[in-house]
């Protein structure tokens, strides 16, 4: 039987697994979590008792449907599941997988990558302090652990998650001090019209959530600095209102995020071509409409195109059917056509989101030299700027010289802003700065575990 490996068990990975299993294949699903669901439909540990409605709001039915679907596939032995496992690298049809028992080599014939996205971050002076988190972290803490990140939390950034997390925290009784959106209302109106045309119901639900934030919510702000102490964390955030009035909001925790950044490292290692997307202000993998990104390589979900959970479910089915069609197995062309049409609507909605909640390029270009850009190693934007006369406008050379992008997060949280700062200094666009090359292992692994992996690979392919 053809060995299909699916990386990621979020909405895209689960739908891909279902589609392949329905055609009689038995795909292997590797996922980092204990329980399948992904981040947006992340499941708390089994002993937790809050009902799905409290965890997932209006999306409770979709979340529990996907969870049940995956559990059924597993119970009927239609899939193989490796939880708590990370794919570290891919080469010659073999995935190196780090699990609870070390690294093992997993050979495959076809690969479906559904690795999702992380928060897209922009530095704010002081963001390296303890108690500053990503917006996604604020949501995961609440959903998967039932905790708030502090007593007085400021949520700042932009994107649909900003409003959603704020409303969820308020509902749960958390202390939210302010919700600071860098997107001007004018941009939100322009993008919002596109969003409402493509998906009126979803847009209305978003507006209703926003209305619940009341006077906590401020649009069009500029974030100046998180004040506090590097050992104890935030005491306040300084910001300017849309009218330019200087404000200070006391807080003990800040959660930051500017919509999402696709997790593309494995797609790149698998041979996908990446293009700069001006719409999303990041590098995204190239694929055909169904997710084909190379020989035997299929991509789906937010790791391919930031369409959200509904779009990810569709993209997961599309990629799996493309894989089945390429294998000459029976598929459902009518369903494929239907899904492609719906995905078009998701793309129009996503284009509205991109317009409504833009990347704060000007704020980043104006960052003071002493602002930490790399949280991992405390490297400042000034140090990156000082590198440019030597490195020239090329991200990988600047990384070698400044270590921006070389820390333990492997550039996930600094590279988009780093490109913006370089581009500003060179009077150019971020696309011209090039892209940080993905490097295996894409997650840290103990050296002795990697040593074992090499042994097993060598014994598999002598010479």
């Amino acid at each position: 039987m053809t060995r299909v490996l699916i990386v990621g068990a979020g909405p895209a990975g689960i739908r891909a697994a279902q589609t392949l299993a329905a055609a009689g294949l038995r795909p292997t699903v590797v996922d980092e979590a204990n329980r399948a669901g992904g981040q947006i439909y992340r499941r708390p540990p089994q002993s937790f008792i809050r009902p799905p409605r409290a965890l997932y709001g209006s999306e409770a039915g979709k979340a529990t449907g996907l969870h049940r679907l995956f559990d059924d596939l597993l119970a009927r032995d239609q899939i193989v599941h490796h939880p708590q496992s990370s794919v570290l690298g891919l080469s010659d049809g073999v995935a190196q997988v780090l699990g609870p028992d070390g690294v093992s080599a997993l050979p495959y014939d076809r690969l479906i990558i559904a690795t999702g996205a992380t928060d897209r971050l922009a530095p704010v002076p002081g963001w390296e302090m303890p108690g500053v988190y990503s917006l996604g972290a604020a949501q995961i803490a609440l959903k998967a652990q039932g905790v708030a990140l502090g007593r007085r939390i400021v949520l700042a950034g932009s994107g649909p998650l900003l409003t959603l997390v704020a409303a969820q925290l308020l509902d749960a009784g958390a202390g939210v001090a302010a919700v600071l959106d860098t997107a001007p209302l004018s941009a939100q109106l322009r993008g919002g019209l596109t969003m409402a045309t493509a998906r009126p119901g979803v847009s209305l639900r978003g507006l209703a959530l926003r209305a619940r934030l009341g006077r906590l919510y401020h649009a069009g702000v500029t974030l100046d600095a998180i004040e506090g102490d590097p050992t104890t964390g935030p005491a306040a955030i300084r910001w300017r209102s849309a009218r330019g009035r200087a404000r200070t909001t006391p807080c003990d925790s800040v959660a930051l995020g500017w919509h999402l950044r696709s997790e593309t490292a494995l797609a790149e290692l698998a041979g996908a071509h990446l293009d700069w997307s001006p719409k999303w202000n990041q590098w995204l993998p190239a694929s055909d409409d169904e997710g084909r990104a190379g020989p035997g390589l299929y991509l789906a979900g937010d790791g391919l195109s930031i369409l959200g959970a509904d779009g990810a479910e569709i993209a997961g089915r599309l990629a799996a059917r493309a894989c089945l069609a390429d294998l000459g197995l029976l598929t459902d062309p009518a369903a494929q056509t239907r899904d492609l049409r719906t995905l078009g609507r998701m793309r129009r909605f996503a284009a509205g989101i991109a317009r409504a909640f833009p990347w704060p390029a000007q704020m980043i270009r104006a960052l003071p030299d002493d602002t930490v850009l790399c949280r991992c190693e405390g490297i400042t934007s000034g140090e990156l700027r000082a590198t440019l006369p030597l490195s020239g406008p090329e991200a990988n050379r600047a990384k070698s010289l400044s270590r921006i992008g070389m820390g333990r997060c492997q550039g996930r949280y600094c590279q988009v802003a780093g490109a913006e700062i370089m581009a500003a200094a060179c009077d150019a666009q971020p696309a011209q700065m090039g892209r940080l090359r993905a490097q295996p292992p894409v997650r840290p692994a103990p050296l002795h575990a990697l040593g074992r992996s090499d042994d097993s690979l060598n014994s598999r392919k002598p010479g």
């Binding site: 928060d119 390296e128 652990q145 039932g146 905790v147 991992c376 405390g378 002795h448």
Partner: protein
């Protein structure tokens, strides 16, 4: 800063507080979490941070909580380092904010 004489938690429990308690140690001090807590949750509901920053004077508390940023790796008295956000708390764990004297562990 970790000051055992004035411990205070950073994270606030809002729900799911009826779970059975699990005892563990952090930097030699006995602490208690709840069954189903991540190591990060269990520590930060009682303490203000996880570890020192390697670069600069600050402390660290994790950042992404989804295994992507690698900010929350801490040590154990016996055994390998662990990522606090994605490791489930077990009773009796002996966790450290600093590497033990014999670290790095050279076990094969």
């Amino acid at each position: 800063m970790n000051d055992p004489s004035r411990p205070s938690g950073r994270l606030q429990r809002l729900a799911e507080t009826g779970r059975p308690p699990l005892d563990f140690h952090f930097d030699g001090q006995p602490l208690s979490g709840l069954e189903g807590d991540s190591v990060l949750t269990a520590i930060l509901t009682s303490r203000p941070d996880l570890r020192a920053a390697e670069f600069g004077p600050g402390r660290r508390t994790g950042f992404c909580l989804m295994g992507a940023c690698q900010d929350c790796w801490i040590w154990q008295e016996n055994g390998p380092r662990l990522r606090a956000c994605s490791t489930t708390l077990r009773a009796g764990m002996r966790l450290l904010s600093e590497p033990p004297a014999e670290w790095p562990d050279s076990a094969p």
